[in-house]
């Protein structure tokens, strides 16, 4: 008997030969266990992410088997490192190129708030230009912290209503950032 733990099935009605639950919950469950990451690494947090992807910490255990280096096939944008103001439009462009649904994790103090670089040339947190779902603190955060951030994001994804991306609140949020 293997000790592999399967994801728990969402609540539903079970009988002999059938299992009924809502589409929304199944999709959310599937999405949360196959988040394809797009690493946007600019500095030391990126090095920590490399460790996170590697065999020892193994991000693939959580369904992020395939780091995507094209934004168009990615679900989860991981921004790791200092984003200079000159890099801002590039990051925004990458975010816009991602297909819905898309999530953003700001890894490390610099991506979250500018970190120690309180200066004219550095963006004071990526949430000035794109919406962020999960912030991972640390300078740089350990791989465990990055994993914890991904798990937190999985939780968000699992509980996200299927139609959230069509709601006026969500459109308003994007409009606030001048996207679409």
């Amino acid at each position: 008997m293997s000790d592999i733990k399967l994801a728990e099935a969402p609540p539903g009605i079970e009988g002999s030969g059938f299992f009924a639950t809502s589409f929304e919950k199944v999709i959310a469950l599937a999405r949360s266990h196959s988040l394809w990451p797009l690493p946007f690494a600019t500095s030391c947090c990126g090095i920590e992410f490399m460790a996170t992807m590697g065999a020892h910490y193994d991000l693939a255990r959580f369904g992020s088997e395939r780091p995507s280096f094209s934004p168009r096939q990615a679900d989860m944008l991981l921004v790791m490192g200092t984003i200079a103001k000159k890099m801002g439009p590039v990051l925004r462009q990458v975010y816009i190129q991602m297909a819905e649904p898309r999530w953003v994790v700001a890894v490390g103090a610099c991506a979250a708030s500018g970190g120690i670089f309180d200066s004219y040339s550095v963006l004071q947190g990526i949430d000035e230009i794109i919406p962020v779902d999960v912030y991972v603190p640390g300078c740089p955060p350990r791989p465990e912290a990055i994993l914890s951030g991904v798990l937190k994001l999985q939780e968000l994804v699992r509980n996200e209503p299927l139609r959230r991306r069509n709601t006026p609140e969500y459109k308003e949020l994007l409009a606030k950032y001048g996207i679409q």
Binding site: K85, K86, G114, S119, V122, Q124
Partner: protein, 167 residues
């Protein structure tokens, strides 16, 4: 040690330019002097093309801002004679409002980006420069960030406010 002493360099300069070359000093053995923006290109040309001195290499052009001085904006040239292994530093001070100085691009092609950088950070206009625009900062920036009146820290930053630290 250089093949020519600092004294010899300075003597040649004063012979040629007289009082246009002023306040010579030698901090850490580096000959430093000031001149005016009317003379700077002549001084640079002389240093570069004099058959004995041959300051053929422009190490750097940068700026400085001393708000309390009468002429607060400075442009600083570092020259290096690869033939004689001697360096000099030349300072030119300009008025704060509309600082203009002639370009050195005609002497050294490498001055192009150095002058763009100095313009980017200090707002010093190099007259005759072929393409004077920002080089390192974002194009939309409206200030010259190395000027002292520009606050070092970003005013939009909220997470360093005192109340987060019980102050």
């Amino acid at each position: 040690m250089g093949k020519i002493s600092n004294q010899a360099v300075l003597q040649k300069l004063t012979e040629r330019f007289g009082s246009a070359v002023s306040i010579p000093s030698e901090p850490f053995g580096l000959l430093t002097f000031e001149t005016g923006k009317e003379h700077i290109i002549d001084v640079l040309t002389f240093l570069k093309e004099d058959p004995e001195l041959k300051f053929n290499y422009l190490t750097d052009i940068t700026g400085i801002h001393y708000p309390e001085k009468e002429l607060p904006i400075g442009v600083i040239y570092h020259l290096h004679s690869l033939y004689n292994n001697v360096r000099v530093r030349i300072k030119v001070f300009l008025e704060e409002r509309n600082p203009v100085i002639p370009t050195a691009v005609n002497l050294w092609k490498g001055a192009n980006w150095m002058e763009r950088e100095t313009y980017d950070f200090f707002g010093i206009v190099f007259e005759g420069h072929p393409d004077l625009r920002r080089i390192l900062n974002v194009d939309e920036m409206t200030v010259f960030p190395m000027r002292k009146e520009f606050p070092l820290e970003d005013p939009n930053r909220a997470d360093k406010k005192d109340f987060f630290f019980g102050r």
